[in-house]
């Protein structure tokens, strides 16, 4: 079985889906000849030609609009936004068009488009190459949001996203692009959307997280285990729709919840997960629902400041310890 990096698993999923389904196309800035700034589409243009791997002008609104139009006309476009920080110009197309097409056409039209975008901090990208944008779309009915944490999940989830008949935002943490490697089977497996993954079983408290947070939690859990604190880790994988069943199940088991994400705290995914638990699992709680997230500020360029505002494994250890002791 091949050991791939996360970005290689993206490429693998695209290649497999393009081979299997001629309606799958890829478009975006530098995705063709250049192979993508992160090499996620490396070689695809040679393999599938310029009609299916399309270099676009530097205009995200246009990329999104073209992809949506193509999707409504029978293709399955995978549009790459070079950095999630630049998805904002496309917000109107994604929120006002893609998300609403099925509803406003009373089910006559679907919009099977995937918007892929590298996101996240920790690589000294500064203000405009570090943002987490999932919360901005989380509020919008009609969208799906997927954030994989491993190469295996990444390939399986991207394939599911491409095959899904509704718009999916697929965010890939750029820090994990090359650092995370894992076994990725060659076969045509998929990971279903809307299903969280129990990454670690534990008794004392649950860390509910996604993306790079899964790895912070795993690192912290080893240190916590040596303190006798047994942590359960739930990787949400799909943020929208949330796997409410899995969330409630882990709360019922441990009664204590720490929600962890790299996006800022205020109005983040954690707020919704916390509210869900408070609403539906109130009688299971044995402690405050806690959130650990980045500070409510921009991602600084200075490495020391960037490090200062992002949660790290030590922060997870301390927060979990507090909660365990409560």
């Amino acid at each position: 079985m091949a050991v791939l990096s996360l970005v290689e698993s993206v490429r693998k999923a695209l290649e497999e889906e393009m081979q299997a389904d001629p309606s799958v196309i890829v478009l975006g800035e530098d995705v063709g000849v250049h192979g993508g700034v992160f090499r996620a589409t490396d070689g695809l243009v040679k393999q599938f030609g310029e009609n299916r791997v399309i270099d676009t002008p530097l205009a995200e609104l246009g990329i999104a609009g073209v992809a949506i139009g193509a999707a409504m006309n029978g293709l399955r476009p995978v549009a790459e936004i070079q950095f999630a920080d630049y998805i904002h110009p496309a917000y109107d197309q994604i929120v006002n068009e893609a998300a609403k097409i099925r509803y406003r056409s009373n089910g006559t039209f679907a919009c099977p488009v995937v918007f892929r975008a590298p996101f996240g901090a920790g690589v000294h990208g500064g203000l405009y190459h570090s943002q987490s944008v999932e919360a901005l779309f989380f509020h919008v009915p009609g969208l799906k949001i997927v954030i994989p944490s491993t190469p295996y999940d990444c390939k399986g989830l991207l394939k599911s996203s491409i095959r899904d008949d509704d718009p999916v935002l697929f965010f890939e943490h750029k820090k994990s692009y090359r650092r995370l490697r894992g076994e990725v089977p060659d076969d045509d497996y998929v990971v279903p959307l809307g299903k969280a993954d129990l990454k670690r079983k534990g008794r004392d408290l649950s860390i509910i997280t996604y993306g790079i947070g899964v790895h912070l939690a795993l690192e912290a859990s080893e240190r916590l285990a040596s303190d006798g604190i047994d942590v359960e880790i739930l990787d949400l994988r799909t943020l929208l729709p949330l796997d409410t069943h899995a969330i409630k199940e882990t709360v019922a088991k441990t009664s204590k919840v720490l929600i962890l994400h790299e996006d800022n705290k205020t109005g983040g995914i954690g707020a919704e997960v916390a509210a869900l638990i408070a609403e539906e699992s109130f009688e299971e709680l044995d402690g405050p629902i806690m959130r650990l997230a980045a500070a409510d500020t921009h991602i600084p360029y200075a490495p020391s400041l960037e490090e200062a505002i992002l949660p790290n494994a030590e922060d997870v250890v301390q927060a979990a310890r507090r909660l365990a002791e409560y």
């Binding site: 299971e284 402690g287 030590e314 922060d315 927060a319 409560y326």
Partner: protein, 461 residues
Amino acid sequence: MPNTVIKMPQLGESVAEGTIGRWLKKPGDRVERDEPLVEIQTDKVNAEVPSPVAGILQQILLPEGTTASVKTDMAIIGDESPDAASPPPASDAPGAQGPEGTTSQRTPAEAAAASPPPLTFTYDKSSGGGVVGHRDEAAAPTTDGTGTKRFYTPVVMRMAEEHGIDLSTIQGSGAHGRVTRKDVERAIEAPEAPSPSGRGRGVREAPEITTPTPAPATPPSPAPTAARPLPEGEAVGLTPMRRAIAEHMARARAEIPDAWSLTEIDVSNLVRYRHTLQAEWQAREGYELTYLPFFVKAVLAGLRAVPELNASWAGDHLVVHRQYNLGIAVSVENGLIVPVLRDADQLSVAGVARALRGIIQKARSGKLSMDDLQGATFTVNNPGSLGSIMSQPIVPVGQAGIVTMEAIVKRPVVTSDDAIAIRSMMNSCLSFDHRILDGAGALTFLRTLKRELETVEYSVY
């Protein structure tokens, strides 16, 4: 200096709560470190609690008369004048019902602070700690003044209800003693929930003499009958001491099948002996030599002869104590306390006299510590000093017996040579736990006591 919250101290190992007797400082008063701040009453002891810090008393959180559990916030000391630190009391604020039916006024700030402050987690790497959670201790008192408020999380309440668990019986292992889900799960697994009364842990309680009426024919009913005062009567509240005595006596009566015996002792020799010593003693020690030190020495001889009387009943076995710690019943204003004369067997008559004087003075001035009151293995009561000639004391829980020394009275007595003489006579009464020993052992004790006090072979020093 940040504000310091003064908490209800634990005035003894098994003491869970205290009552505010008197505040010795008013808000706005300056208090020095170690200066007495408040008088706390517990079951058995009144203590002055010194201030741990110097500063200005900002706020009193527990009014006088309030009973609250140990570690409850009592007051706040800071370095500003209280006007700057807290708003003036709103005199017409809706009052909360106090513990004794009194209405306590609360400022809005106090009212807001009365519920436990939330556990907050803030991102603070500057402190080197990453995410830190803290409770703002200084900002808020944590009980409603009754000392009974405990916070239970939803899951704890649900599980307790589902399994019929009485949460008040569970010792919390969480932060601030919170009962956690795991604590409840343990309680569900263990069929016998731990009892808060701590029975069987050698708790020793204060004894008291009763009037020489025989024991009631029927055992006292377990639940106190609510008595309503007749039209001219008045309901008098119980002091913590009264309540404690009541509990201890009722418990002793309910648990211990006691038996009683009496002997009469010719203490003429003792009376003479004490008289010959008195002047020298007074000159040397500066106070009167009483009979009690001699009684103590005689009791110790009796206990050595009958070790089962210096013992505790432990359900399926007996614990015979090696230490001789004598409880000495001392009547004080409105009640009675029983300070402990530790290792009494290691003292001379003079040593006993000095030690007794110390603890009795402490008892009468309310300065006993909990340590002075715990660990008695047998109790000596001296109702004779109040004129009693016969009494039936109640055996304290955790002890095997209690002996009384009654009044010394001159009586005509038929002596061994069939003459009639006027002698100084004293009765001594023994109540004992009949589970532990029988009449033979009890009478061996009394015989030894009698012999010791009739011959008086003690040197004083």
